[in-house]
């Protein structure tokens, strides 16, 4: 396995006297697609924000490519790390293409993006199945359509680390599968992907590794194969979940 690109060392996050995270540590290598899971309020988004440089951890260090996050200039960091936010204000009037081109902010030195930047943006939009919306105002797009545009903006950054906060929100089932297939392709190309998700079956189907947060810290950090072999981690989420092994190869978590 190649050298880790993300190193999380013993980080903690305390806000208003409430401990959200403590002693969280793990490494992520290029090519991994990691699902970060946990119940509401487990600190999943906070963890992603800390890795993305949006929040300073109360304790501990995050290093990207062997360099502590605090030492990165924002523009340099944005060429390596992209972050897909959970949601965005709904009343934006700009065109979808303009938002995707914002992903080129750290790459483009000029006032106007070059034709190359435009090409990268269009490729990203095509991959996210949203090039057809490029001239539509964001305010007129549905939640799922907008989500695909946001993902395209992240891909246009050409990151080596892709952080996704619930990337399948608002997506229909077909687009959810499309989204995770895309992430698997990205990981296959050497990007380290960390996705916060609530969908256990999507995670088991597409991800290589699961990190489950509970009680302010990492409760389980395991490869998908191990997760299927010993489903005790499902208790974190609910008592009503069971792994089903049908006739086919894929295992499936069903509700009781």
């Amino acid at each position: 396995m190649s050298e880790p690109i993300v190193r999380v060392r013993d980080i903690g996050w305390v806000t208003g006297g409430v401990t959200v995270l403590e002693h969280v540590g793990f490494d992520v290598a290029p090519g991994e697609l990691v699902a970060i899971m946990g119940r509401n309020g487990a600190g999943k988004s906070t963890l992603l924000d800390i890795i993305g440089g949006l929040r300073m951890p109360s304790e501990g260090v995050v290093a990207i490519a062997d360099r502590p996050l605090a030492e990165w200039r924002p523009a340099n960091r944005a060429r390596v790390v992209a972050h897909l936010p959970q949601n965005l204000r709904a009343d934006l009037t700009m065109r979808a293409e303009a938002l995707v081109l914002m992903g080129r902010y750290a790459h483009a030195a000029q006032w106007f993006e070059s034709d190359d930047d435009r090409e990268v943006a269009h490729t990203a939009m095509r991959r996210c199945d949203c090039l057809q919306y490029r001239d539509r105002s964001l305010g007129t797009l549905s939640g799922g359509e907008r989500q695909r545009v946001l993902l395209a903006a992240c891909l246009a950054q050409q990151p080596r680390v892709l952080l996704l906060d619930e990337p399948t929100t608002f997506l229909d089932v077909d687009q959810q599968l499309h989204c995770f297939t895309l992430l698997r392709d990205e990981a296959g190309g050497g990007t380290a992907c960390l996705a916060v998700t609530h969908d256990i079956n999507l995670a088991l189907t597409f991800c290589t590794r699961l990190i489950v947060l509970a009680e302010h810290s990492i409760a389980y950090d395991m490869l998908v194969g191990a997760a299927l072999a010993d489903p005790s981690w499902l208790r974190v989420f609910s008592d009503r979940l069971h792994v089903d092994r049908g006739a086919g190869t894929a295992a499936w978590v069903r509700y009781q």
Binding site: G52, L54, P74, R77, A82, P85, T93, G103, W111, D135
Partner: protein, 330 residues
């Protein structure tokens, strides 16, 4: 409809520049006393001196004051992600007004060679700026919500103090204060005008050069940060730039309303939300609009003058209602 590429950017920019230059050339000739072009050509008085001494400086002041207000308005609308933000939202202009009102009430005509109203306005603005920054800072970081809360709070305190001072002064000062608070343009010395135009031009250029950063902030602070912008630095810079634009203008003209709100709105609805285009066009159109409103105010009830601030409100208010009814504002 919306501008896509540098090509259509250029068309919009040329159009707005033409508007600005036309206003600069034509408007000085408009006023209660007719100016004969032939007399001006032969440098005959009084036409020549009215044009050069009074009308030209007043028109230039209108062009740059309108430009500064419209640019500051579009800057704050993007930066604060608030479609109703104006150059006055964060309190600096109200601070400037308070300083000016105190100067009028205290009869300070000149302080150290500077007109008392200007000195008062700039001092008031600087104090409010420090107060808002101090109140909004948390953990060495600045957030939009912090700026908005601190700005609005200090805005209302200064507003209350203005009312208080206004109520406690004598009749003649009270009249002068009311008149000043409407906002109007007047001929000013060319030396003062030169300083003002230089300051406004420099700050405007720096602000417009950062347009990509304002575009990012208009989406969100986290969005801007993860695309590679320095958010706190941008917010401090934007707040300072908008404050200097607004405060120096308010010091010279009083708080003229609506230019800073209506012009960016109108342009965004027509050309989309890209600040690389909206900001320079807002400056040019805002300048042309304010100078035109002032010219209109000179003739509409001649020989009486209607202050430019009243004309902009008369035009701006109905326009905004019309725009909202049509659903073109965001």
């Amino acid at each position: 409809m919306t501008a896509h590429r540098p090509g259509s950017f250029a068309i919009w920019l040329c159009g707005c520049t033409a508007l600005f230059i036309t206003a600069a050339v034509v408007l000085p000739f408009i006023g209660p006393s007719r100016i004969d072009v032939g007399h001006v050509w032969n440098r005959q008085n009084p036409d020549w001196s009215i044009l050069t001494q009074l009308r030209t400086s007043r028109t230039l002041l209108g062009l740059f004051a309108g430009g500064a207000l419209a640019l500051a308005g579009s800057l704050f609308q993007s930066m604060l992600r608030d479609a109703l933000a104006t150059p006055y939202t964060l309190g600096v202009s109200t601070g400037a007004s308070l300083g000016a009102v105190l100067a009028i009430a205290g009869n300070w005509h000149m302080t150290m060679g500077v007109t008392g109203v200007w000195a008062g306005a700039l001092t008031g603005a600087a104090l409010v700026l420090l107060l808002v920054m101090g109140a909004a800072r948390r953990d060495r970081q600045l957030s939009v919500s912090g700026l908005l809360l601190a700005g609005i709070a200090i805005n209302s305190i200064c507003g209350a103090l203005i009312l208080l001072v206004h109520g406690l002064t004598g009749v003649s000062q009270s009249f002068a204060i009311s008149r000043w608070l409407i906002g109007s343009l007047d001929a000013i010395e060319f030396r003062t005008l030169a300083v003002y135009v230089t300051v406004i031009s420099m700050i405007s250029l720096v602000t417009i050069r950062q347009a990509r950063q304002w575009n990012l902030l208009a989406v969100g602070e986290a969005w801007a940060a993860t695309r590679g912008a320095r958010v706190t630095r941008a917010l401090v810079g934007g707040y300072l730039a908008g404050s200097v634009l607004a405060a120096t203008t308010v010091a010279l003209t009083g708080p003229i309303g609506f230019v800073g709100l209506v012009v960016p709105h109108l342009l965004r609805a027509r050309m989309g939300g890209d600040d690389r285009l909206v900001m320079p066009c807002a400056f040019l159109v805002g300048g042309a609009l304010l100078a035109s409103c002032d010219a209109l105010g000179r003739v509409v009830l001649a020989p009486a003058e209607v202050p430019a601030g009243a004309i902009t409100a008369f035009i701006g208010g109905p326009h905004l209602i019309w725009a909202i009814r049509k659903g073109t504002t965001r």
